[in-house]
């Protein structure tokens, strides 16, 4: 096959990888839209949920979907707990201070997982095989990749409806735009923020459950997807759901194109170059409409 003949395969691989980045980006955007906090623990919280799923699957002997569901319940609880026990406790919090708390949370979660499960990689057996494939028009698609794209698309659509069409979604946006007024309007801001953290942890957890089987489950498994998800969120504008999804797809596709046609050695630099480029050209991101606070 010629190099150009591989283009559809490279593009498909990029979209599959980008779907995971999009999920992470969505999780970050969900928290950012509500609290203006960048959660750098998002990836490792997802890793924890993946380990819980693995423990339920392997040690607990639970059926796949049962383990998956319980792991996502755990993810929600972990997100809510992090907001309640750590973020909310900050005295006179500045956004920067809260972001630093998330960095601390990342280290705690990573340290805990390394202590509890050790550093050795583990295999995550799931029914969606990364090696069983369907071939469409010469493009090879694994069951896991197809499921990843489908799950990401469904999650994005559901989240879009929830945040833009439901009262809870409106409350989240109100909480970000003006906490005091939101509170005066009867919105229980703290509860809304806790809800955002729980929701984001579930979305991140889904990403973790898709990353694990494609490779191995290990404490550092989400470092790379997390950084690329963050890049996707910045690319999309930090507040836009569609932007996050688009950012994820762009990063996935561009890095795969770069890896295949230019250099695999510098492939992982591409997302960061994208961040720099975006911040230099259009700091607000591709699709974001930033709410400007009046003073």
């Amino acid at each position: 096959m010629s190099a150009l003949g591989s283009l559809p395969q490279v593009l498909f691989s990029g979209i599959a990888a980008g779907s995971v980045y999009a999920l992470i980006a969505l999780a970050m955007v969900t928290i950012y839209r509500t609290t203006e906090v960048l959660n750098f623990a998002q990836g490792d919280m997802a890793m924890m949920s993946t380990y819980v799923a693995l423990a339920l699957l392997v040690a607990g002997g639970l059926p796949f979907f049962g383990a998956l569901l319980l792991a996502l319940v755990f993810a929600a609880a972990l997100g809510a707990f992090a907001e309640f026990a750590l973020l909310r406790r900050a005295k006179e919090p500045s956004v920067l201070g809260l972001i630093i708390i998330t960095l601390g949370l990342e280290m705690i979660v990573f340290g805990f997982a390394s202590w509890k499960w050790g550093g050795e990689p583990r295999d995550m057996p799931i029914p969606l095989s990364p090696t069983d494939v369907v071939v469409v028009g010469g493009v090879i698609m694994s069951h896991l990749e197809l499921a990843t794209i489908a799950i990401a698309a469904t999650t994005i659509a559901a989240l879009f409806l929830f945040l833009n069409r439901s009262k809870a979604g409106l409350a989240m946006r109100a909480a970000q735009q003006n906490r005091a007024v939101a509170r005066l309007m009867g919105i229980r801001v703290r509860r809304v923020e806790m809800g955002a953290w729980a929701l984001a942890a579930v979305i991140g957890g889904i990403a973790g459950l898709l990353v694990g089987p494609a490779a191995t489950v290990e404490p550092y498994m989400m470092w790379d997807p997390m950084m690329k998800g963050f890049a996707a969120a910045v690319l999309g504008g930090m507040t836009s759901l569609a932007g996050a999804a688009l950012g994820g797809a762009i990063i996935g596709i561009v890095e795969n194109l770069f890896g295949f046609y230019v250099s695999t050695a510098f492939k992982s630099v591409v997302p960061f170059a994208a961040i720099l480029l975006m911040l230099a050209i259009k700091p607000s991101g591709l699709l974001a409409r930033h709410y400007v606070k009046k003073v």
Binding site: G118, E120, R122, T131, S142, T216, E255, T264, A265
Partner: protein, 393 residues
């Protein structure tokens, strides 16, 4: 005010006078009853499967201490997790060396890049370092007085693997997948040189960045090259991702790997059963080898190993890379100094532990050169030794 300043100055001078003798005295890490030895190793992070090297060394030291130590001294072992991150290796090594009582020397230590980051620091101070757990040319080019290398060179493994693939298995189109660090480059260079000697060129040379989790473009490049065999110098997680991606892309060459991926049971488990029919190089006896030494170590493992530990190649490597250091400490006698230890190490000839035969001498710092090739079967669980222990010429 002046009096206050005077007091502070006097206090500072007093503290300086107290501290000066400690700072001036060399921290040798040896007391009447103890020998302090350090080691770094990734207990977490991408190279964590290699972290059992440091734990294997811990078991060897425990065995020695329980048998009475060495010339009346017990070994105090300081192991730290550097996550295969050279910056952390440097910080940890400096802390051990510069904080009382210091360390006598370093045993093994995983990784070319982490080791390179501290090599000059250790050598400038004459601190002995035995058995870096990485087969790099950097340890012996040029030979360093206090650095005794045991891991056979990745370049030699590469040569043997290429010879096997080309001369015995008739492969003509060989591709190389390698980490874009010193470890990967060492193997890569060795393979290219050997192919040149045989009149061949690699059909693809694909570097992998340590951070990458998505290797589809890498595997597509290998597949596009039409390779009938692929040599790998990557970490275990990257090997698993490569095999899973290759299986999905219906690409099935003969995989051949460095000894760093020679823990076949581990690789078979974490790859979900894809570690079949893999050709690999080995620098130590196979885990179930029937030699008296190996039996003794397996018995010790049953006694000392922590719950959840596994008797595998890397754990064993932590023993094999440090056996000669223990031998050197024994030969140096009760009057142990770094000089006497180095002199004792140079007397080690035809020493056979669980690595190949070890020979050191004045100016000779690559102790073990023998390796062999082995292959996993179609079930991925049974390992067959293909070639005898031999030095690669």
């Amino acid at each position: 005010m002046l009096k206050k300043l005077g007091n502070i100055a006097a206090l500072a001078a007093g503290l300086f006078a107290l501290a000066a003798p400690v700072a001036a005295a060399e921290l040798t890490g040896v007391t009447d009853t103890e020998i302090h030895i350090g080691q770094w190793g990734p207990q977490t992070g991408p190279a964590a499967p290699w972290g059992s090297v440091a734990r294997g060394t811990g078991m060897l030291f425990q065995m020695i201490n329980d048998a009475g130590g060495i010339h009346g001294r017990k070994i105090v072992y300081h192991m730290f997790d550097d996550q295969y991150n050279p910056a952390k290796t440097v910080a940890g090594v400096k802390e051990l060396v510069e904080k009382a009582p210091g360390v006598f020397g370093f045993a093994s230590g995983v990784g070319t890049s982490p080791g390179l980051a501290v090599k000059d620091y250790l050598m400038e101070r004459g601190i002995p370092w035995v058995g870096p757990a990485a087969g790099s040319l950097h340890w012996i080019t040029p030979p360093q007085k206090a650095l005794f290398s045991l891991y056979p060179l990745y370049a030699d493994e590469a040569k043997l693997l290429v010879r096997q693939l080309v001369e015995k298995e008739g492969k003509k189109k060989i591709a190389i997948l390698h980490a874009s660090d010193e470890y990967g480059e060492n193997g890569h260079r060795g393979a290219v040189q050997e192919m040149q000697r045989l009149g061949l060129k690699p059909v693809a040379e694909v570097p992998v960045n340590q951070a990458d989790r998505d290797l589809k473009s890498h595997v597509l490049l290998l597949k596009e090259s039409g390779a009938d065999a692929v040599l790998m110098w990557v970490n275990p997680t990257h090997a698993v991702i490569t095999l899973k991606t290759a299986a999905a892309l219906q690409f099935a060459p003969q995989w051949a790997t460095s000894s760093t991926l020679s823990d076949a049971p581990l690789m078979q488990t974490i790859s979900g059963g894809l570690w079949k029919n893999i050709l690999f190089a080995s620098f130590s006896e196979l885990p179930d080898a029937d030699t008296p030494q190996m039996k003794q170590y397996r018995e010790a493992f049953a006694k000392y190993a922590q719950k959840g530990e596994r008797w595998g190649v890397f754990f064993m490597a932590g023993i094999g890379f440090v056996e000669p250091m223990v031998e050197g400490l024994r030969r140096a006698g009760r009057n142990l100094t770094r000089e006497s230890f180095i002199a004792a190490m140079e007397t080690i000839r035809n020493y056979k532990g669980i690595l190949g035969t070890v020979n050191f001498g004045p100016g000779q710092r690559q102790g073990a050169k023998e390796i062999f090739l082995a292959r996993t079967d179609d079930s991925g669980t049974k390992i067959t030794q293909l070639t005898p222990w031999a030095e690669v010429k």
